[in-house]
Symmetry: C2
C-alpha cells in the first residue's frame, strides 16, 4: 500500500528512535482517539447515510468551514474525485471571493450547506453562515433542511442554533481534534456525497494501524530530520497535482500539532521544523533552485504515486528537436523520471531526501496515507513529550480580532 525509502546519504535517518513504547503512550493517551476511527464503523455508515439523504433533495453540497473543518474533505475530494463539481468549500471571509463563489453556486434551491466547526464558535464560519442565511432568506429559500451541522455533541453556538431550528446534526467525537477529524463526518460527508467509497477508505486507515513497524519507521525518519540533522524546513514534495491539497492538510497537521512553546511538563518545548508543501514537477521550476543551492536547512520527503508510470498519453511523435527521448514514452514516465532525477540531484547537493510511495490514487491508499501521517505526527508528539492536540498560539489573535471589532466605531 505504502512504501518508505530512505534515499539520502545520511544514514542516521534509519535509526528507529520512535519505538513501541511511544505507540503505546499514544494509543493510551486520554482524550485522543483519532487512531481508533477506522474501527468506529457506525460513524462511517452515518456519513454515508446522511449523504444519501441529502442527495435525494439537493444536487450540490457546500461545506462552510475553515482549517481542520475543510482541509480533510478538500484533501479527499482533490485526490479521489478531482473532477467532481458536486461539492464546494467556502472557507474564508474574503469579501471578493465570497461574493463570486456564492453567485457561482447557481440555483440555491439545489444547494445543501454543511456547517462545520468542532468548537461551534469559529467566527469566520459562523459569519459566512450568517451571510449565506441572509441570502437564502432574501430569496425565500431558507429552510432548516437546507443545512446540516457538524460539530461537537455538546452545547455551543452552532449546535444551539441547530437545536433551536430543528437542523440535523452529525457529531465529531469528543476525543477527535479538528485537524485529526478527516475520518469523521468532517471529511466523510463531503467524500460520500461525491461518491467516494468510504469502506475502501476505512480499509486503508485500518492497514495503517496494522502496520505498526512502518509507522515507527516513518515517524523516526521525519523526527530525526529535524532533531538529529537539524533541518529547519521539512519539504513535502508531492509528485501529483491531486495531492497538492494533501500537502496543505499535512502542513496544518504538522504545524499546529508540533510547534509548541512548552512541553507536557511546562518546560521549554523541543525545536521543530516548519513544513513546506511543494508539487512536482511544477516546483522544480520555482523552488528547486533554493532547495538545491540555498542554505542547507531542508529535508525533502518525496511523495510519489507508483501507478503513474504507466499512465497518461503515449508520445508517438516527439516533434521537437531534443525531445527524441520521449518517443514511445508515456507522460507519467516523464513525471517519475523527473522525481527520481530531482532526488538524485539533491543528493548531489547534499540535501537529505526520502520517498514515501503510494501504490495508486485510490481510496485505500489515501486512507493509508492519511492515517500514516496522522500516526507519524502523533508519535513525534510522544517522543517530543508535547501536547500535539491543542493550539494555544491561535487563540490570542481570535480574541484580539473580536476586541477590535467590538471597540471600533460603527
Amino acid at each position: 500500500m505504502l512504501l518508505l525509502k530512505l534515499t539520502q546519504v545520511e544514514s542516521s535517518l534509519e535509526d528507529r528512535v520512535v519505538k513501541k513504547e511511544h505507540w503505546d503512550q499514544l494509543i493510551n493517551r486520554e482524550g485522543v482517539g483519532f487512531f481508533d476511527l477506522p474501527n468506529r464503523v457506525s460513524l462511517w455508515k452515518a456519513a454515508d447515510k446522511r449523504a444519501a439523504e441529502i442527495k435525494e433533495s439537493f444536487r450540490k453540497l457546500v461545506v462552510l468551514g475553515i482549517g481542520g473543518s475543510s482541509l480533510g474533505g478538500r484533501t479527499l475530494l482533490a485526490a479521489l474525485a478531482p473532477a467532481s463539481k458536486d461539492v464546494e468549500f467556502i472557507e474564508n471571509v474574503d469579501p471578493c471571493s465570497w461574493q463570486r463563489r456564492v453567485e457561482a453556486l447557481g440555483d440555491l434551491s439545489q444547494v445543501h450547506f454543511v456547517v462545520v466547526s468542532k468548537s461551534g464558535s469559529t467566527m469566520e464560519t459562523l459569519s459566512v453562515t450568517c451571510a449565506i442565511k441572509e441570502v437564502l432568506i432574501s430569496k425565500s429559500l431558507f429552510k432548516n433542511h437546507c443545512f446540516t451541522v457538524v460539530s461537537d455533541a455538546g452545547s455551543n453556538p452552532l449546535t444551539e442554533w441547530a437545536r433551536q431550528n430543528d437542523i440535523r446534526e452529525l457529531h465529531i467525537p469528543s476525543d477527535i481534534g479538528g485537524r485529526f477529524s478527516v475520518f469523521t463526518a468532517v471529511g466523510l460527508l463531503p467524500a460520500a456525497f461525491a461518491g467516494i467509497n468510504l469502506e475502501k477508505l476505512r480499509a486503508g486507515g485500518s492497514w495503517a494501524l496494522q502496520n505498526q513497524e512502518f509507522q515507527l519507521q516513518l515517524a523516526s525518519a521525519l523526527y530525526l530530520s529535524f532533531s538529529e540533522l537539524k533541518k529547519s524546513i521539512t519539504v513535502l514534495w508531492s509528485y501529483s497535482d491531486d495531492l497538492l491539497t494533501f500537502g496543505l492538510w499535512f502542513q496544518q497537521l504538522w504545524a499546529e500539532s508540533l510547534a509548541k512553546t512548552v512541553d507536557r511538563k511546562n518546560l521549554k518545548a523541543p525545536w521543530v521544523s516548519t513544513p513546506l508543501p511543494l508539487v512536482g514537477t511544477n516546483d522544480q521550476h520555482s523552488v528547486l533552485q533554493q532547495v538545491a543551492e540555498g542554505t542547507k536547512d531542508k529535508f525533502a520527503l518525496f511523495l510519489e504515486v507508483a501507478s503513474f508510470t504507466s499512465m497518461g498519453p503515449k508520445i508517438s511523435e516527439p516533434t521537437f528537436r531534443g525531445l527524441e527521448f520521449m518517443k514511445g514514452r508515456k507522460l507519467g514516465e516523464l513525471l517519475q523520471a523527473e522525481a527520481l532525477a530531482t532526488r538524485q540531484a539533491l543528493s548531489g547537493y547534499g540535501v537529505p531526501t526520502a520517498v514515501l510511495q503510494i501504490e495508486e490514487l485510490s481510496p485505500e491508499c489515501l486512507g493509508a496515507l492519511i492515517m500514516s501521517t496522522q500516526l507519524a505526527v502523533g508519535l513525534i508528539g510522544e517522543i517530543m513529550e508535547i501536547n500535539a492536540y491543542d493550539q494555544p498560539g491561535v487563540e490570542l489573535g481570535k480574541k484580539l480580532a473580536k476586541k477590535l471589532l467590538a471597540e471600533s466605531e460603527r
Copy 2:
C-alpha cells in the same frame, strides 16, 4: 497605490541599507531589462492585438507552460479576472490531471493553445504540447492557427517548430528572464484574452518605477529581515484569496533569484531566507500556531487590500451566540480586523512583521505590486552581489531526467 508599514518591534528594519547606488547598478546591469518593460509600449500593444485576433476564431485560450512561463499569467488572472473561464493553464506532466484537464476543455475546435517557454526547450512543456497535438490530429483538428508560440526570438526547438509550421510567434525580449517575464506576452496575452486592461496594468508598473524611495524602503526591510534579524523563513501572508497565486509567483521569484551557491565574484554567496506563501484568514487555522509558538525563525510580510474593509455582505442578524460583534458589520471588516489582530498577536510573541498594503485589486495596483516586488528582489540581488538572473540549481535534475529516460529500457 502601495503602502509599506513597518509594524514590528525591531526598529532595525527601518534602516535604508539598500540605496540609490544599488538602483543604479540594477538598471545599468547588462542583459537585465525587466524594469524597462512598462516603457516598451509596442510589446503591450502586440499582446492586446494578438489576443483580439485569437478571440475572432476561438472561445478559449489554453497556456501550455510551467514555472515562469505560467505563474505570471496565472497571477494576473487569479487577481483580476478570477471568474473567467476563458483562460486555462496546463502546466504539469501529471498523467491524471493532464487527462482530466484536456477532457474538460470540451470542443477543441474552440480552443487556442499558447505554448510558452523562454528557452524553447522546457521538456515538460514540449511533451505536453506533443500530447495535445496528437489529440488534435486524432480528431482532425490540428491546424497551425490553433497555436501561438511565445519564446525567445532565437532559434530553439520551439521556434523551429513554429517556423516550420507557419505558427505565429510572440517574443520574450532577450534581456527578460522567465521569472521576470509577466509583463511580456507570457503574462499579457492571457491577461488581454481575459479582458484585463493592459494600459492600466502598465500604468501601475510605471508608478513603481517612479517611486524609487518606496522601492528602496521595501527592499531594505525585506533584506534586513534575513541579513540582520537572521530570520530564515520569509512569510508572505496575503489577506486575499485572489492573491494566493501572487504568493506562488513571489515564492518562485525570490527562491530562484536569491538562493545561489556563489556570488558574482565566485565566492560563497550570502545566506538568504526561504519564502513561505500563506493566505489569511485560512492559514490562521493551519500555520499560525507554528509562526507564533514555533522557533522564532520567521519574518512575516502581510499583504492587505485596503478596499476590502467596505466590501462583502453586511451581517444584519448575527444569529449565533457570541457573534453579536458582527451586527451591522461587513465580511470584509472581519477579514481586516483579523489581519490586524494576527499581526498584533505575532508582535506579542516577538515575531517581526510588516504590512504591504495595496489600495484595491485593480490592474493599476497589481501592476505596481508586481513591479515593486520584482524591483525589491533585483535590488536585494545587488546588495548581496549575486547574479539574480540565472538558476544553476535546476539544470542538473533536468539533465539527469533525460539521461534516465534515454538509458532505461522501453
